[in-house]
C-alpha cells in the first residue's frame, strides 16, 4: 500500500515538473532529485547527479570511414566498468564488445566474428572479459588483449539436466573465480559454475510469492485437481552484480518485495525490505563504497542506496520524445567509475549518458561512509554541512543524532531522532533519558509518594475522628447522587459487575439516552486524545494528518451500523432489548476504552520499544474487555442463552456487511446515473452548437 502510494507520488512529481516547468527554483535539469524519509514521506533534494554528456558510437568512432552499422551501437544490453575505468559495452545487435575509456576515447573492439548476441559481460581484476552470449549459448572468456581464451558451454553434469536450456543472459565472476550466470528460463536462480565451467549448483533463487487463490486451492482441492493446475513458478532474477567483498547482488523484475537482493555466500539476503524499490529494475551496480545503484528500465528512474539498503536519491525520468539530456529511453545498464561518475546505457538510443555527482552528493557520500563505518562523531561535521544545504535530510538527522548519542548528549540525540522519525534510535535515546531522569528524581518520587501516603492516612484519621472535611465529603456524596452524574458513573459499575450492570441499565434506569450520548462524545474525545497523544513509537498515524470529521465518521458509522443491525436481527430473533437499550448498552460496553484510553496513551509516552509488549498487551486487553462486554450486552439485554447470543452476534455482523454492500451499490449506481446524465447533456450541448 505504502509503496503504491510512493509510486503514485513519484509519478505525480514527474508530471508536475512537466506542467510547472522551472517555476520552482531548481536548476535546468529535466528531473528532480528526491528521497523518502524514515517515515516514508517524500522530500526534495538538491540534484545529486547532473548529466554532463553522452558517449555513443559517433563520439567513439568519429564520422570518418566507418559505415552506419559499425559506427553506432545497436541495442546494447549491458555495460561494465573495470577497475581502471575502462568501459565495456555489449553491443548486442552488432555482435561485439566495444571498449573505451571513461572519457569517450575508443580503445578496441573485442569478439567481432566470435560473438553473436552478447547480452551480458564482466571483467575480472586481471582484465579477463567474460561475455554471456545467448545467441551462441555460451560464455566466452577473452584475455586482456582481447583474444578468445576459453568458451564455457552447457554443463554436462546430470544435475544441470539434459533438457535444461543454457542461454546465458548475464554473467559475473566472484573473487574465487566462480562464474554466476543468469540464463533464460532458469527459475531456480543463478547458475554457479566452477572456473572450468562445471556446474556447482543454483544460487539465490527467488521464492514464489504468496497467492490467496492458490492457498485456498491447496486446502480444498484434491491431489488430482492440484496436479492439473499449472505450477506457479518463482520469477527468475533479471540482473546481477558483485561487490568488492564478493557479495552477489541480484535484481528481479516484476516483484515488489526484495526487488534487490544482496546475497552472502549462503545465499541469504542482507538487505532489509523497508526501502522503496522499483519493480522494473534493468540493472544494478555497486560502487567502491558499497553504494548500490539501480536503474528502472521502464520509467527511467535512477536509485542510489547506501550499503545497508537505505534509499539516498531518486532522480531521472523517461524520455517521452522531448529528448532532453538526463532523461532515458530504455535504460539497459548502469555502472560507476572510480571518481564517482555514473554511466547509464540506453538500449534504444544506443548511447551512454554520463552523470557527475554534485558537490551536494559528494558531501552526502563523505558523511555516509563515515557513518557506515560507525565513526558517528567524525560524521557530524559533513552531516551538519548537508543539513545546511538541505535541512530536511532525515538520514543526516539520524547521523547527527547518533553522534550526540555516542557523546552521551541524549537530549540532543533524542530531538534529532524524533525529527528523522527513526523509531529504533529514538527509543534508545529515550531509554537513556528516562534512566537519567529516574536516577535523578528517584528520591523525589519516593519522598512525594511517602508524603502522599502519610497525608492520606492523616486525612482519613482526621475525618473519622473529628469529622474533618465532612462538608466536602457530604458535597461530593450529594453530587454523586445527582441523576445524570450517577448515570455517567454507572460506567464504573459496568467494569466491575457487567452482568448486574446491564440488568440495572435496562431495568433500573441507571442509564439514559442522554448519559449514553455524553459518553459517546467522551469516547470520541478519548479517541482523538489517543490519536494525538500516543507516542509515535506505537502509533502509526501522524497527528498532523488527522481530520476530525473523518475520525468522527470512522467511529460513528461502524457503531451505528452495529446498533441498527443488532436491533433488526434481535427483533426477528425474539430479542427483548429495545432500540434505546441497545444504544445505551453498546456505548456502556465501551466503558473500558473510555476509562483507560487516556491513561494508556499517556503511558505510551513513557515507554520505549523495549517495553512495547506492555503497551500492546494493555491495548489488546482493553479491546478484549470491550468485546466481552458487548457479548454480555447482547446476552443480557435480549435475555439470550449462550448459543443464541453467538448466533445473534454472527447475524449482526452479516447484517453489517450487507448494509455496507448496499451502501456501496447505491453509491456506485448514483455515480453511474450522474455520469450518464452528464454525458447526455454534453452530447446534446456540443452537437447542437
Amino acid at each position: 500500500m505504502v509503496k503504491m502510494l510512493r509510486l503514485k507520488r513519484i509519478i505525480g512529481l514527474t508530471f508536475a515538473l512537466l506542467l510547472l516547468g522551472s517555476t520552482a527554483a531548481f536548476a535546468d535539469v529535466p528531473y528532480r532529485t528526491f528521497s523518502f524519509d524514515e517515515t516514508g514521506k517524500l522530500f526534495m533534494m538538491q540534484d545529486a547527479y547532473l548529466p554532463i554528456g553522452t558517449i555513443d558510437g559517433y563520439t567513439l568512432f568519429g564520422d570518418g570511414g566507418a559505415n552506419e552499422r559499425e559506427s553506432t551501437f545497436s541495442n546494447p544490453e549491458d555495460m561494465f566498468i573495470d577497475g581502471d575505468d575502462f568501459i565495456y559495452v555489449a553491443d548486442t545487435g552488432n555482435g561485439r564488445v566495444v571498449v573505451s575509456d571513461s572519457w569517450g576515447n575508443y580503445v578496441r573492439t573485442v569478439g567481432e566474428g566470435t560473438l553473436s548476441r552478447p547480452s551480458g559481460l564482466f571483467v575480472t581484476d586481471n582484465k579477463e572479459l567474460y561475455v554471456a552470449d545467448y545467441g551462441k549459448q555460451s560464455i566466452f572468456v577473452f584475455d586482456r588483449d582481447g583474444k578468445l581464451k576459453t568458451t564455457i558451454g552447457k554443463p554436462k553434469s546430470l544435475l544441470f539436466g539434459k533438457n535444461t536450456p543454457f542461454k546465458p543472459k548475464k554473467v559475473i565472476v566472484d573473487k574465487r573465480g566462480s562464474v554466476y550466470m543468469i540464463g533464460e528460463g532458469l527459475v531456480q536462480g543463478l547458475v554457479r559454475l566452477s572456473p572450468e565451467g562445471e556446474f556447482l549448483g543454483y544460487f539465490g533463487g527467488n521464492r514464489a510469492g504468496f497467492d490467496l487463490t492458490r492457498s485456498l486451492q491447496r486446502i480444498f482441492y484434491t491431489d488430482a485437481q492440484m496436479s492439473k493446475l499449472t505450477r506457479k513458478l518463482p520469477l527468475s532474477p533479471t540482473n546481477l552484480a558483485v561487490d568488492a567483498e564478493g557479495l552477489v547482488y541480484t535484481t528481479t523484475v516484476g516483484v515488489n518485495d526484495e526487488a534487490i537482493k544482496k546475497l552472502n555466500v549462503a545465499g541469504k539476503n542482507l538487505l532489509g525490505n523497508d526501502a522503496f524499490m522499483s519493480n522494473q529494475i534493468a540493472d544494478v551496480t555497486v560502487d567502491r563504497m558499497g553504494n548500490i545503484f539501480t536503474v528502472d528500465g521502464v520509467r527511467g528512474w535512477i536509485f542510489e542506496y547506501n550499503k545497508d539498503g537505505n534509499l539516498l536519491f531518486i532522480f531521472g525520468g523517461t524520455d517521452e520524445g522531448n529528448q532532453r539530456l538526463g532523461l532515458l529511453r530504455t535504460p539497459a545498464g548502469i555502472a560507476t567509475s572510480s571518481d564517482g561518475r555514473l554511466f547509464v546505457l540506453d538500449g534504444e538510443r544506443g548511447n551512454i549518458q554520463v552523470f557527475k555527482p554534485t558537490e551536494f552528493a559528494g558531501l552526502v557520500h563523505k558523511a555516509i561512509s563515515l557513518y557506515l563505518d560507525g565513526k558517528y562523531v567524525q560524521s557530524r561535521q559533513p552531516w551538519a554541512e548537508v543539513l545546511k544545504l538541505n535541512s530536511l535530510f532525515s538520514l543526516a538527522h539520524t547521523g547527527i543524532g547518533l553522534a550526540y548519542y555516542k557523546e552521551g548528549q541524549y537530549d540532543e540525540a533524542f530531538a534529532e531522532f524524533e525529527f528523522s522519525g527513526n523509531k529504533k534510535e529514538y527509543s534508545n535515546a529515550y531509554w537513556e533519558i528516562r534512566r537519567q531522569w529516574i536516577m535523578k528524581h528517584a528520591p523525589d518520587i519516593v519522598v512525594i509518594a511517602a508524603a502522599a501516603v502519610v497525608a492520606w492516612v492523616v486525612l482519613r484519621w482526621a475525618y473519622r475522628r473529628f469529622g474533618f472535611g465532612r462538608q466536602v465529603v457530604e458535597q461530593w456524596k450529594r453530587f454523586v447522587r445527582l441523576r445524570l452524574v450517577a448515570q455517567l458513573l454507572h460506567v464504573f459499575r459496568m467494569l466491575r459487575h457487567p452482568i448486574d450492570g446491564y440488568y440495572e441499565l435496562e431495568q433500573g434506569g441507571k442509564a439514559s439516552v442522554l448519559s449514553a450520548t455524553i459518553l459517546l462524545v467522551l469516547m470520541f474525545g478519548v479517541r482523538l486524545f489517543e490519536l494525538y497523544a500516543t507516542s509515535f513509537l506505537f502509533s502509526g498515524v501522524d497527528p498532523k494528518k488527522i481530520s476530525v470529521s473523518t475520525e468522527l465518521l470512522k467511529v460513528l458509522i461502524p457503531l451505528f451500523a452495529w446498533i441498527v443491525s443488532n436491533y433488526l436481527v434481535s427483533v426477528i430473533n425474539d430479542g427483548e432489548g429495545r432500540f434505546k437499550d441497545i444504544y445505551k448498552g453498546t456505548i456502556y460496553a465501551l466503558s473500558p476504552y473510555i476509562m483507560f484510553g487516556v491513561p494508556l496513551a499517556l503511558l505510551s509516552r513513557t515507554l520505549t520499544l523495549m517495553e512495547s509488549v506492555v503497551y500492546d498487551y494493555a491495548y489488546n486487553f482493553i479491546l478484549i474487555w470491550c468485546a466481552l462486554l458487548l457479548f454480555l450486552m447482547v446476552k443480557e439485554l435480549h435475555g439470550y442463552e449462550m448459543k443464541e447470543t453467538f448466533k445473534n452476534i454472527a447475524l449482526t455482523i452479516v447484517g453489517m456487511l450487507i448494509m455496507a454492500l448496499i451502501a456501496f451499490i447505491l453509491f456506485g449506481l448514483s455515480n453511474q446515473v450522474w455520469e450518464f446524465v452528464y454525458s447526455l447533456f454534453q452530447e446534446v450541448k456540443l452537437r447542437a452548437r
Binding site: S22, D28, F34, Q46, G53, L528
Partner: protein, 768 residues
C-alpha cells in the same frame, strides 16, 4: 503506598514526562555551524569532457571560405534596398536574397543536387522546395500534412505593393487560397500572410502555415555554423556530419504552453522571445527570424539533419486553427475536433540578415535589443547602484494542515525581516531587493491569489507599514509578492464558475497545484486560471490597497510568464488579447505604485519590469542541441537588472555561482528567520533550507565574491562573448570590463592573466 494512589502517581509521572517531551519537540533545535570555507570540488582527471556537453558553449573554429550560391539567371529583383536584393520566381515563389554588404546569397530552397541525392520520400522531396508548408483538417477532422506542390498550389496573381509584391496563391486540392506579401524594410525582409487574404471554399480547413521553411537550410554540415533556438536562456544546434538519430524536432511554442488550448501531454518548451536564427560560418553570415504578427499562436520548429531530411532547417509554424479533444463524459469518452473559426490575425515574419561580427547569436541578441527599442519602446538603461544588488525572498507565513483544519506557520515576522536586513547591512550587504512572500492571511499557499488582510501572526498591517518605512529609509526597496494567474477553490476574489478560464473544449481548466511532494492534505488542492480581464481588476484593487499602506512595489509571479486564452463565451480572450490585457495590468500597477518586478517574464512584459527575477540560467539541454547560450541575458543586460533563481537549491554552489557571474545575473536567496523544518508539513518543502542563521555565511560570502565582478557592469551591455576553450568564457561589456570565467578544474592562462580553476577574473574596470 495505598493502592488507590498508584494511578495518581502514574498520571503525575506521565504528565511530567509529557511536558518534558513537549520541551524536546518544540525547544531549541540548535545545530553546529561548520566553519569550513566554501570549497570547490576539483577533478583534474575530467579534462574538457564535461564542458563539451550542451550545458556549455563550445569554442568556435575559424570558418573557411563559404561557397556562394549563384543568383538564378533571368530574374529581376522584386525588391531592393541599400542592403538587400530579393529575387522571387513567379511560378514557384522561390526566394533568393543577396546581402549586398557581404555578397552572400541566401536561398529558400536547398540546391538541386542536395535534393536529388537526399534520398527523400515523395512528401519531403516537394516539401524542401516549397515556399509554404500547410497542415489542414480533412472532413474526418484528421490533421493532414501538405505543401505548396502536393496541394496543387499556384500563383494566381502578383501585384506590387509599397516596398514589395503581393502574390495571390490558390491550392486546388483544398479549394482554398491565401496571399503572401514580400516587403523590404531596411536590412530586413518581411513575409506576411494577411488574414483577410485567406479563403476556404471546400470542406478542408487550414490548420497551420509554415512559410519558407527551408530558407537558409544547410545540408548536413556542408556549411559550418548553427541554428539558434530560443529555448529558455538560448541554445544552439551546431551542424555536424554525424550524430545520433533523433526522434522529434525542436518545438518551442512562443511564450510557452497555453493551458486553455494545448494538449497537456505535449511538451512545448519555454520560449520567452519570438526569435530564431541560422548562422552560415560564425561571424560571417547570419539570418535571424523574428515572428511579428501571429506570434502568440506560433511555434518555432527546428529540424536537425537526419530527422526526415538531411537538412538542418528552422522555421516558424503559424496556427490558423487548433485541434482538440472534446470530452463528452467523465470517463475519457469524447471525440477529436478543431476550431471552426480561424484565428483572426495577420501572420508575419521578419528576416534580418547579419554579416561579419554580428553574424552569431551575440549579434542576434544585440539586433533583437535594437529591434525591441525601435518597435516596442523597450529602450531602457539600468541605473547603477554603488554595489551589486542581492535579492532576498523573505518567506512570511505558510499554511499547514492540522487536526482542526489548517493553521498558519509564521516563518519571518515583519520585525524579524527588519532584523535580517540590519544583520546583512552589518555584514556589508546593503544593496538588497527584498521580496516579501506569504504576507497574506493564512500564509503563502493558504489561498491564491493572495488577499488582504495581512497575516496577524507576522505583525499585521501596522508592522508591515513600519517595516516598509524602515526599509525605505535604508534605501532598500520592499516588494510584496503577488500572482494574478492562479486561483484556488477557496478564493473569494473570483467566481470559479464564471471567471475562471475555460478551455477550448469549454471545460473549466484546473489541475492539482501540489501534485508532487506535498502531503496528501494538499494533493486535492485544485488551481484554476483567472480570466485576464478579471486579473487586471484584482491587480488594480491590490495596487490600491498597497498604496494605502505605503507599499510602493509589487513582485508579480506567474502573470508575466504564463499566457493563455480564455474560451468562456461571455468574456473570451485570445492569447494576444491576454498579453495586451496583462500589459495594461502591469501599467495599472506601475501607475499606482511606481515599482514592478516580474518573474521570468515573456518579452512583451519586459517594458513594464523594473527588475526581473528568476531569469532562466540555462537551456533545456535537448540532445540535438549542442550549446547553451545566454541570449536573454545579452538582450537584457544593462537595460533591466535581472536575478538568477534562488540559490538555496544549488547542488553545486561553486559552478552555479560561476554561471551567474558569466551570465551577469545577480544572486537571490530565500530566507526565513525561523528554522526551515517548521515548513516540514507545509507545501513549501522544495526550498531545502532557508533559515538566515544557517545561511548568513553562504549569502555574504557569495555576495562578496560576485560583487567584485558584477558591480562594475550593472549599466553596461554585453558586447561580446567568446569561448576561449572548453569551459572557459570571456564576456566583454560596453564599458570595457571583461569577465573571464573558468569552469574547468585546471587554471587557464589568458594572455598572462591566470584564471584559477573554477574561478573567474575581472579585467579592466576600477579594481584591476
Amino acid at each position: 503506598m495505598p493502592a488507590k494512589s498508584k494511578p495518581v502517581v502514574l498520571i503525575a509521572l506521565t504528565a511530567a514526562l509529557g511536558i518534558s517531551l513537549f520541551q524536546f519537540a518544540y525547544g531549541d533545535n540548535e545545530k553546529v555551524l561548520p566553519a569550513e570555507p566554501e570549497t570547490a570540488m576539483l577533478d583534474e582527471q575530467e579534462g574538457t569532457f564535461p564542458y563539451r556537453s550542451n550545458n556549455y558553449t563550445m569554442p568556435e573554429a575559424a570558418a573557411g571560405t563559404l561557397p556562394v550560391r549563384p543568383v538564378p539567371g533571368g530574374e529581376r529583383p522584386v525588391a531592393e534596398s541599400e542592403r538587400l536584393a530579393v529575387y522571387v520566381s513567379k511560378s514557384t515563389l522561390e526566394l533568393t536574397i543577396v546581402d549586398k554588404k557581404s555578397g552572400y546569397v541566401w536561398a529558400s530552397t536547398p540546391s538541386e543536387k542536395d535534393v536529388a541525392e537526399g534520398q527523400l520520400n515523395e512528401e519531403w522531396k516537394t516539401a524542401v522546395v516549397s515556399p509554404l508548408l500547410l497542415q489542414y483538417y480533412d472532413e474526418n477532422s484528421m490533421l493532414v500534412n501538405g505543401n505548396y506542390y502536393t496541394l496543387g498550389g499556384k500563383v494566381e496573381a502578383a501585384e506590387p505593393i509599397t516596398g514589395g509584391t503581393r502574390f495571390k496563391l490558390a491550392f486546388d486540392q483544398l479549394q482554398a487560397g491565401l496571399a503572401v506579401e514580400l516587403k523590404l524594410d531596411g536590412d530586413s525582409l518581411v513575409v506576411t500572410i494577411p488574414q483577410q487574404s485567406i479563403w476556404e471554399k471546400g470542406t478542408a480547413k487550414l490548420a497551420t502555415l509554415t512559410p519558407y521553411p527551408f530558407l537558409g537550410s544547410v545540408h548536413k554540415a556542408d556549411i559550418p555554423g548553427y541554428l539558434f533556438i530560443p529555448d529558455r536562456s538560448g541554445a544552439l544546434i551546431r551542424f555536424s556530419k554525424a550524430h545520433s538519430r533523433f526522434d522529434e524536432p525542436y518545438v518551442g511554442k512562443i511564450y510557452g504552453f497555453d493551458y486553455a488550448t494545448d494538449n497537456m501531454e505535449r511538451y512545448v518548451g519555454e520560449t520567452a522571445v519570438p526569435v530564431f536564427g541560422i548562422v552560415h560560418g560564425v561571424q560571417k553570415n547570419g539570418m535571424m527570424g523574428i515572428v511579428e504578427n501571429g506570434k502568440f499562436n506560433a511555434e518555432i520548429t527546428a529540424y536537425p539533419s537526419g530527422l526526415s531530411t538531411n537538412f538542418y532547417w528552422i522555421a516558424s509554424k503559424f496556427y490558423v486553427r487548433y485541434g482538440y479533444f472534446q470530452p463528452t463524459s467523465k470517463n475519457l469518452g469524447g471525440f477529436n475536433t478543431f476550431q471552426q473559426e480561424p484565428i483572426a490575425e495577420d501572420r508575419s515574419l521578419r528576416y534580418t540578415f547579419l554579416s561579419g561580427e554580428d553574424a552569431d547569436y551575440v549579434g542576434m541578441a544585440k539586433t533583437y535589443r535594437g529591434y525591441l527599442a525601435r518597435h516596442s519602446g523597450f529602450a531602457r538603461k539600468t541605473k547603477p547602484l554603488p554595489e551589486m544588488p542581492l535579492q532576498i525572498e523573505m518567506y512570511g507565513a505558510e499554511t499547514e494542515p492540522g487536526m482542526f483544519g489548517r493553521s498558519t506557520v509564521a516563518m519571518t515576522s515583519f520585525d524579524q525581516a527588519r532584523d535580517i536586513v540590519d544583520r546583512l547591512a552589518k555584514q556589508g550587504v546593503k544593496q538588497l531587493q527584498v521580496v516579501y512572500r506569504g504576507w497574506n492571511k493564512g500564509g503563502l499557499h493558504a489561498t491564491k491569489p493572495a488577499d488582504f488582510p495581512v497575516e496577524s501572526k507576522l505583525g499585521g498591517e501596522r508592522k508591515l507599514q513600519q517595516l516598509n518605512e524602515y526599509l525605505t529609509g535604508q534605501g532598500v526597496p520592499l516588494y510584496l509578492y503577488d500572482d494574478f494567474t492562479h486561483a484556488f477553490e477557496n478564493t473569494d476574489l473570483i467566481s470559479l464558475r464564471t471567471e475562471a478560464v475555460r478551455g477550448i473544449n469549454n471545460e473549466v481548466v484546473k489541475w492539482g497545484f501540489f501534485g508532487w511532494a506535498a502531503d496528501d492534505y494538499f494533493y486535492d488542492v485544485l488551481t484554476h486560471y483567472i480570466n485576464p480581464g478579471k486579473a487586471r481588476e484584482i491587480a488594480e484593487d491590490h495596487a490600491d490597497r498597497f498604496r494605502e499602506i505605503g507599499i510602493g512595489r509589487m513582485a508579480l509571479d506567474m502573470t508575466g510568464r504564463t499566457l493563455f486564452s480564455d474560451y468562456n463565451a461571455d468574456h473570451p480572450y485570445t492569447r494576444d488579447q491576454s498579453a495586451a490585457e496583462y500589459g495594461k495590468l502591469a501599467e495599472g500597477v506601475k501607475g499606482r505604485l511606481g515599482g514592478l518586478a516580474l518573474y521570468a517574464p515573456n518579452d512583451y512584459m519586459w517594458r513594464y519590469a523594473d527588475t526581473i527575477f528568476h531569469i532562466p540560467m540555462g537551456s533545456s539541454q535537448y540532445m540535438y542541441a549542442t550549446d547553451t547560450v545566454p541570449f536573454l541575458q545579452i538582450v537584457l543586460h544593462g537595460a533591466v537588472p535581472y536575478f538568477a533563481p534562488m540559490s538555496n537549491t544549488n547542488s553545486s554552489p561553486r559552478e552555479d555561482m560561476l554561471r551567474m557571474v558569466e551570465f551577469g545575473a545577480y544572486p537571490s536567496f530565500a530566507i526565513t528567520a525561523e528554522p526551515y523544518w517548521k515548513l516540514k508539513n507545509t507545501p513549501s518543502t522544495d526550498l531545502l533550507n532557508t533559515q538566515y542563521d544557517e545561511l548568513e555565511q553562504t549569502v555574504t560570502r557569495r555576495y562578496a565574491a560576485m560583487n567584485e565582478a558584477l558591480k562594475q557592469v550593472q549599466d553596461a551591455t554585453i558586447e561580446a562573448r567568446t569561448v576561449l576553450d572548453y569551459g572557459v568564457v570571456s564576456v566583454k561589456y560596453s564599458n570595457g570590463v571583461e569577465v573571464v570565467v573558468n569552469y574547468t578544474s585546471r587554471s587557464y592562462d589568458y594572455g598572462g592573466i591566470q584564471v584559477k580553476a573554477k574561478d573567474f577574473a575581472v579585467i579592466g574596470g576600477a579594481t584591476s
